[in-house]
Each structure stands twice: as C-alpha cells, then as structure tokens.
C-alpha cells in the first residue's frame, strides 16, 4: 500500500451515519459525525510565508517566462492578466531549483528575479521548533500530506532528545530491514484498555490524541476544531481543566474530561458523559506548580464555565490537596470509576526522578492509562524556569518507565501515553519505539492552526493570532471549519508517514513498534562515541 492509499484504507464516516455509530459512549446528546476527508486548507493570512522569498524587480515586463519555467506554481499570470501576480513564495523550494538552468531566475530575460532566504521566517520558531518545522507543519495542515523535502519536517534543531535520535534506515551504513509487501494494510490503531476489567474498550485509529487545553487558555474555535478532528479520526481530545463547554456535547464520545486540582467546572454529568476521564496531577510545562489562568483571560464566559469571578486570576493549586499517598490516589480513581462505571481512567503525571515508581503506583491504583507529560512541552503560559529546568524531558522518561513496567510484569496491562515536546510524525514513532503505546500532542495542533511560537499566549488579550485567546475579536480570525480541516489534514499527513515508516521497518501494526529501540540509533559527537 502506498502512503497516499493509507488515508483511503481507514474507515471513512459518512455524513448520515447509522444510529448505532452515534452511540459509542454514554452521552445522551446526539453525536455529530465529522467526515474524515482531506481538503486543501491554505494559510488563513493574506501573505503566506515561505522559507524563501522571491523578489521581482521593476524591470519585470510580465512576459510570463517565469510562469512557464516554474514547476511548483510559484509564479502566476492568469489568462487575460497583463501582469504577473505576486509570487506564491510558500511554494518556492529555493536554491535547489533557482540555481538550475530551467529555473525562473535563470529564465527571466530581464534578470528581474532573485530568490533568497526569507528573513521574516527566520524570526519564527526556536531551537526546538525550527522555522522549517513550523513551515512543514503548516504545509501538512494545508495539504494533508507530507511536507516537501526542502522543509525539514522530521526533527528540530535542539541538538538532543528526539533531534539526536534517528531510525537506522535514515542513516547510511545500516542494513535496511525487509519492508512489508506492497498492498499490505498497516494498522495504526490502538486499544486503550488493557486491564481486562470488564470496562468497555476505547479504540483509537491513530496512536495520537489531543492534549488538554482549557477554554480560557484557548479559544472555543480551537477547542471545537480539536474535538471535531478527533471525531473525524476516531481519537480523543481533552477538555483541559477549565470545565466542559456545552458546545463540546456533540462530540462527547471523543472528549476526555480532565479532573485537575482546581476542579473548575467538574460535575458529575461531565464525568458521566465521556469514555475517558483524566486526572491531571501535574503537567510538563510547569511540573509541580499547578495552573494559572491570568485575569485578563478570565472573561465572563470563561468565568461562568469555571464557576469563578471574571477578571480574577485563577490558580489550580498543586498538588491535589486530597492526595498525599498512593492510597489517596486510589481513592480518587475509585471515585471516578464509581461515578462513571463504564469509563477508563487516565492519570496524567509529570516526569520526576521517580517517574517509574509513580507509574507503577498509578497502575496499582487502578489506572487504565498512564500519561507522562515531559518537561519541554506545554502550550500555555508557564514560568520560564519551570519549562526549562524542572523534571526530565519525555525522551528520558518513556524508556525509564517502559523498562520498569516491563520488569514489574505489568507492561501489557496498562497503556503508556507520552507527551511533552512531541512535534512531528517521526517524534511520535520514536516515542513509541522508546516504549510508549501512543502520544498526546498539543503544540503541534496550535502550530497547525497558525501559531508562530511567539510565546505571547499569556499576555494582555492573549494570542495575537487568535488561537490561544478568548478575546472576541482575536478569536474570530479563525473559523471553526478551517481549524477542523487543518487538524484533519495534519492527522492524515502524519498517518501517511506512520504507514511509510512502519512499511520500511517491516511492521504491519504500530503496536509492533513499541519498545523496539533496536530500530533507533543515537547521534553523538565523535568524542562521545569514542568513549
């Protein structure tokens, strides 16, 4: 099966579903079906950004030679137009093309065209999320397919962690594994209940689901876009700790209710209507520090849902003040299991030095899913000192926990989910190869919706691009339909890459990849290798 076939192989929901398909979970609310269809969803801004910029001097006579020369659709001169239109710079692949004889630059009779790196895109991103990675994510969200090769879409530039891990087939010198025969169906799905406790199974079609982002920290369009994409891909999204917005009810079957220390908006009915309930003990962005919604973002609508006073900063204390031992933790899990007797329970923890012990404790307390949130991720505002320094990155935590659970003989009885700085399809696959069953993502969804990582989510009216803001004017920069489509497309692009990599590794299921560190290698500077 080719990668482009992969999207077709998965079950596509139709717009008029049979009634039983609307009742996966326990929601009384009619569940809306979202088609899993890939459509172009181009950049929502007038001027899309590209890695390179194409300058056209006044000497241009609009002869149209550049339009004929360009194979990538950068130059346009519609029929009847006297002038060429502004180049679509986001499609330009740069010097790899511009320096060849057939390029627009060399073909221009007036020598009016130049191609150079775009200084503006160099302002985007950082070591973890390089500008290439942001542009590649945008491209995947726009097209639903992998980004072109001139954009580095697999790794960032952080120099460690995922960025220093490679699949052996990417590195010269290793014998490639035998790929699966063409046409073989590759399964990227995952069951989340391995306890065998009689509770219903929750199956997801991708080893990925959406992380908790509360209403207040992000806009309702962002929340609903995530939920609709989750419904389309038969996976999950999470409410975050800001309560359960009424507009999420049509997607109850794909929503995880988060119970965090602040208990904002947590009610029995919000626990009872979902298939998974998540306890958030800690989060990677600010491990051990709880949550903090700034007063500016606590608008009347947010305050109403959180049952709080508008304009006041809202703190989620750390830790749960009712939990100071594993026994207390078990009481918590039992409480949720009692309130909703068919749900699965996920426990979200951060990554301290004893994260392996925490995971084992959570399993024995009755958790179905242990969700490790590493320290480098997070979408919301957090103290810089916490983001960088407190708790270990997820790349370290996953193998540590996987090995410990294996040694305890309980690895196959619990689902291990990882999050915190997982940016690309390759990061997902590396995380699973290190020992996780699946991953939770957050930032990549924001990037798909147009985030440039300017890190201003927390200040004033919030995100200037309308993603992480409840400001009525800012949030209207993005429509719900567009947000949904971008995320559906991103999932499709990722699934194509999952299928391609699994095929190359000779695996027919994502579940075969778990803990297969033998397919990975670690890049090191020469002195380190010789040691």
């Amino acid at each position: 099966m080719t990668t482009s076939d992969a999207a077709v192989q998965v079950r596509i929901r139709v717009s008029t579903p049979e009634p039983e398909t609307q009742r996966l979970g326990h929601s009384d609310w009619p569940q809306q079906i979202v088609p899993r269809e890939v459509h172009p969803a181009p950049d929502r801004y007038r001027n899309a950004l590209g890695k390179y910029t194409v300058d056209r001097l006044a000497a241009c006579r609009s002869c149209g030679r550049c339009v004929e020369a360009c194979r990538y659709g950068v130059h346009r001169k519609p029929a009847g137009y006297a002038f060429t239109l502004r180049p679509l710079e986001q499609l330009c692949i740069g010097p790899d093309c511009a320096e060849t004889p057939g390029s627009c630059v060399s073909q221009c009779p007036q020598k009016a065209l130049t191609v150079r790196p775009n200084a503006t895109t160099q302002c985007m991103g950082d070591a973890r999320w390089s500008s290439d990675l942001i542009l590649a994510t945008w491209r995947q969200a726009a097209t639903g397919h992998a980004a072109p090769p001139h954009l580095e879409s697999r790794t960032g530039a952080s120099g460690g962690g995922f960025d220093s891990l490679r699949f052996k087939f990417e590195v010269p010198g290793f014998e490639p594994p035998t790929p699966v025969p063409a046409g073989t169906e590759i399964d990227t799905g995952l069951d989340l209940n391995h306890r065998g406790d009689g509770r219903p199974q929750a199956h997801i079609d991708l080893p990925v689901y959406g992380g908790g982002m509360s209403f207040g920290s992000v806009s309702i369009h962002t929340i609903l876009g995530k939920a609709r994409a989750a419904a389309a891909w038969n996976t999950f999204t999470c409410t975050g700790e800001g309560g359960y917005h009424d507009r999420l009810k049509p997607y109850d079957d794909y929503v995880i209710t988060q119970v965090a220390t602040g208990l904002f908006g947590v009610r029995e009915d919000t626990i009872q209507r979902v298939r998974i309930v998540e306890f958030k003990y800690a989060q990677g962005a600010k491990p051990g520090l709880g949550g903090h919604l700034l007063g500016d973002k606590n608008t009347p609508a947010v305050a109403r849902m959180r049952e709080a006073v508008a304009g006041n900063a809202l703190f989620s204390p750390f830790p749960f003040h009712s939990v100071y031992s594993v026994e207390d933790h078990k009481k918590h899990v039992d409480w949720i299991k009692e309130v909703n007797q068919r749900c699965l329970v996920s426990v979200k923890v951060s990554t301290p030095t004893d994260v392996d012990m925490v995971a084992v404790g959570s399993y024995y307390a009755g958790a179905h899913i242990i969700h490790l949130d590493g320290s480098y991720g997070g979408t919301g505002a957090a103290p810089d000192i916490a983001k960088k320094n407190i708790a270990m990155p997820i790349e370290y935590a996953v193998p540590k926990v996987h090995k410990f659970l294996t040694a305890e003989g309980i690895r196959d009885k619990v689902t291990l989910i990882a999050s915190g700085g997982i940016r690309t399809a390759y990061d997902v696959l590396k995380t699973i190869a290190l020992g996780a069953d699946g991953v939770v993502v957050g930032t990549v969804e924001m990037v798909a919706l147009g985030c440039v990582r300017c890190a201003c989510c927390e200040s004033g009216r919030g995100c200037p691009r309308g993603i992480a803001s409840t400001d009525p004017e800012l949030m209207m920069q993005m429509s719900l339909e567009w947000a949904t489509q971008r995320l559906i497309n991103l999932n499709n692009a990722w699934r194509e890459q999952f299928v391609e990599v699994l095929s190359r590794l000779g695996m027919t299921s994502i579940r075969e990849l778990r803990g297969r560190t033998d397919v990975l290698c670690r890049l090191e500077d020469e002195p380190e290798v010789s040691q």
Binding site: A48, R128, G160, S164, G288, P319, H321, C457, C521
Partner: protein
C-alpha cells in the same frame, strides 16, 4: 516561624537603551493606502510607538524591543510590504555564555521584579554544557509546599553562614567545650559580589550596599568602597580586606558582620587579626575555584577558617593557571562538596560560590551541587544595562577592561542613579527569589538549606542519557550530516 521574608519590588523602567530581539522593517514604497492598515491593528501598538518615538526627540528610549514577531502584520498587509527580522545588534550582545536572551530576560526582571513567564513551551536547546545539563526534580503528589508560592505556606530561603557542629562536646564534669555558635543568618542564599572586572564606580558600590540592606543580605565591597557606607549600612557589607586595609579600617571592621580576606599564605593570620578587632566577625576566605580548592579548604579548616568564597570565572568554570578555564562549577563543586562530606567537615564549612551565576536556575543548581549560597556579580551589572561587551573595551595597565563610562558603555553603568540602580538590583533579586521558591515548591522542599548537595533531587544529563539511551546504537553525527 520567622516573619515572612518579602522582597519589595517596584516597576523601574530601564533608563538605558534596550536592544530588542526583533525589528520591524517597513517598506514604505508601493503602499496602496488601502486604509486597512495592519499597523493600526498591531496588538502591541509597536508601529504607533515607533512613530511617536520618531516624532519625539526626548523620547526615553528606542522602541525596537516591543515587536514580538507574531508576524500578524507581515502576513496581513494588503501589499505584503512588511517584514520582521532578527535585530543584528541583539545577536551581537554578550558572549557565548552571557547570551543575548540571558541579558534580555535579566533586563525584564530588573524592570519589574517579576518571574519571566511565557507560553508555548520550552524554546531552547535540549541540553548544553554546565548548568544546562541539569534538571531539577519535582514531587508528584506528596508535599503541599507548592502553596508557599502563593503565601499560604512558608518556604524559607534563609541560609546560615558559619560552622554548625553536629554535636556539642562537654568535659567529664559537664562544662561545654564547643564554642558558642556564631551563625550569620541571611534571608536570601545570595550575596551581592563585586563585578569581576573594573566596572564599578562608587555609585555602583553604593547601590549594591543599599540593595543588600533591603534584601537582608550582604554586599561584598572593596575596602575603599566600604568607607562610603553609612554606619547603619555596615552590617550589610562584607569588605574584602588585605593586611594593609585592616590597619586602616578598624571602625569598619567593628561594624560589619562578615569580612573577606584573599587566599594566601597569610590568610589565617589575617583572619586572626580581624577577629582580634571584632570577635563576633565571620571571616571568609576568598579563593579561586580550581582543582586544588578542596585540598586548600581542608587545609585552611585546620587553621580554624570555616567560611570560603570560591570564585569561578565569568563562565562558571575553574580558574586554572594562566587564566585557562577548567571544569564547570557543576563538576568542580560536586568534588569539593563530596570531599568535605567524606572528611566529615561539610557542616562545619560554609561554601559561597560565584562566577557565571547568570540566571535564577543557576543559583538553585549551584546549591544542589554543594554550595550553601551563591554570590552574584555580573548579573547585577546586566540589570543596569550592561551588555557584557568588556572584551571589546580598552584595558588599563593591569589588563582590566575599562567600561561603565559614558564614552565606552552604552548603558553608562558608572553614572547610574543610586536609587534607580538599587531598585533594579532589588527587582532582579526579587524575581530570582520567587523563582527559587518555584523550584523548591516543585521539589517539595520547605527550605533552601535542605537543597544543599541534594544531587539525588536533580537529574544529571550524563546519568540519565546512559539510563535512557544506553542500549541504543551510537553513530557519529557527521555520518548523518555527510
């Protein structure tokens, strides 16, 4: 429980020209006058402020620092006329250790006294040398000290300087042999040290002294600067005194709580002289951090000295012969701490460590590696606008860079108003104090004294890489690049 320690911060806008990270580039040609201008809709009003600045010659500073690079204007302009670029002046600031981002965050903290907060996760490199290869631990469920950050529970940042014997000793007839404890208690595990190079006018020293008084800590000053301290400020200074100074500084010695003497053959003798003038004085020996530090400390301990100030270089590394840098504090200090533990001396000795303490996290990590407290030097200058550009400056006869003067220093740190400089130093320390509490709270530790040498509550990159990735095949990076 002691009174709650609180640092009173106050917004103190910079009086030096800040250098922003991003610069808007406005191509004014070809504007279509569409009246749909994205500049007017800039969420941060950058364009309006820059325009006002251009019209107002008395405007206090340029506004290049306001652009956040959200790129809304670049992507929204009808004609695509706008660009944003990284400011080359920003990239040229500092050096390989004092990076531009460190300078910028220090300025911001000195402006407001607040913890730096941002969205969208961590943005830097995965790991690095020195402090960037340590992560601090957190506690998942068991301790409620996080509440200390919001004032519902107290997290102490108090440290004691002086020997703390494990037990009291008595004669057979019950007379106590152990000398009475003379602990010098500071409310912050930080003292304010002199800049590492000749960049301190009398005003700066005065600001440091005033800030130390407010912060309930100590300012290390040269003997010449100690003279300007008011009598009520003497308990807040720790003069560095040589043999000649001691003879001329009797009044000062009687009024201060701690004095420092440079290491040398006569260090013990100098300490004796100081104690003969002021018997309650805490004497600290100031010595460079080097591979010989542990041995020297043990030797001086035998001579009765109990407090040591280890000075690393400005990049946090040992000072080797010929000025060469050695190991980082992370490794060198753990060795010193470990040796003192092994010798059974650790609680008798107080270690103050300075050099390369550029961020609040460095303070916490230095303490984890074995320091009792740290001394901050260059960061105080940065709070006043220093760009750590000393290497580009002319040097005096002693080889020291001459900076701080209006001719040489864009921040004119020498001529900074004392009150303004004091408040900015207090603000910076206030922000660091809050961040230290964040780290302690996350770890579930109620007092900074318990953080000393707690390497078990830290994650060291060398160890965790081996544990997590030890079974992975290793490949030279060049094999992939090639």
């Amino acid at each position: 429980m002691p009174d709650r320690y609180h640092i009173k911060t106050a917004a103190t806008p910079a009086r030096f020209r800040r250098v922003g990270k991003f610069a808007n580039v406005d191509w004014r040609e070809d504007c279509s006058r569409c009246s749909n201008c994205v500049k007017l809709r800039c969420l941060y009003d950058v364009y309006r402020h820059e325009s006002a600045f251009n019209r107002d010659p008395l405007s206090p500073g340029e506004t290049l620092d306001e652009c956040k690079a959200c790129l809304s204007c670049v992507q929204g302009c009808t004609k695509g006329l706008l660009n944003v670029s990284v400011n080359p002046e920003f990239l040229n600031m500092g050096d390989e250790y004092w990076k531009p981002d460190i300078l910028l965050t220090t300025w911001n903290q000195a402006d407001t006294g607040r913890i730096p907060v941002s969205g969208a996760g961590y943005r830097g490199r995965f790991k690095g040398p020195g402090f960037d290869s340590i992560w601090t631990d957190m506690s998942e469920i068991v301790r409620p000290t996080r509440d200390g950050i919001h004032g519902r529970e107290y997290i102490s940042t108090t440290v004691d300087i002086g020997p703390k014997p494990l037990r009291l000793q008595f004669t057979p007839d019950g007379v106590m042999l152990t000398a009475p404890l003379r602990l010098l208690e500071l409310q912050l595990p930080v003292i304010l040290d002199m800049p590492a190079w000749a960049a301190q006018g009398a005003r700066l020293a005065a600001a440091r002294i005033a800030a130390a008084k407010q912060l309930k800590t100590l300012a290390v000053v040269r003997a010449g600067d100690a003279v300007q301290a008011l009598p009520k400020q003497l308990p807040s200074i720790a003069p560095v005194l040589s043999g000649e100074d001691i003879a001329n500084s009797q009044d000062i010695i009687e009024g201060v709580r701690m004095a420092q003497v440079p290491d040398g053959p006569d260090a013990a003798a100098l300490a004796g002289k100081l104690l003969s003038i002021n018997g309650r004085l805490t004497v600290c020996v100031r010595l460079p951090l080097s591979p010989a530090s542990a041995g020297r400390i043990v030797e001086l301990n035998r001579a009765g000295l109990k407090v040591f100030h280890l000075c690393a270089n400005q990049h946090g590394r040992e000072r080797l012969e010929g000025g060469r840098p050695g190991r980082h504090i992370k490794d060198a200090l753990r060795e010193v701490h470990g040796r003192l533990v092994a010798e059974g001396l650790r609680d008798e000795i107080t270690l103050i460590v300075s050099g390369g303490i550029a961020l609040a996290e460095h303070m916490a990590k230095t303490i984890i590696c074995g320091a009792d407290l740290v001394a901050v030097d260059t960061a105080l200058l940065v709070a006043l606008g220093c760009r750590v550009c000393r290497d580009a400056h002319p040097r005096d006869a002693a080889g020291e860079a001459k900076c701080g003067s209006p001719e040489l220093c864009p921040a004119e740190t020498d001529s900074a108003d004392c009150e303004y400089a004091t408040q900015r130093i207090v603000n910076l320390m206030g922000a660091w104090h809050s961040q230290l509490i964040e780290v302690l709270g996350a770890m579930g530790i109620r007092e900074v004294r318990r953080l000393r040498g707690e390497v078990g509550r830290a994650i060291f990159m060398e160890d965790i890489e081996k544990e997590a990735f030890g079974d992975l095949c290793r490949v030279p990076r060049s094999q992939v690049s090639a």
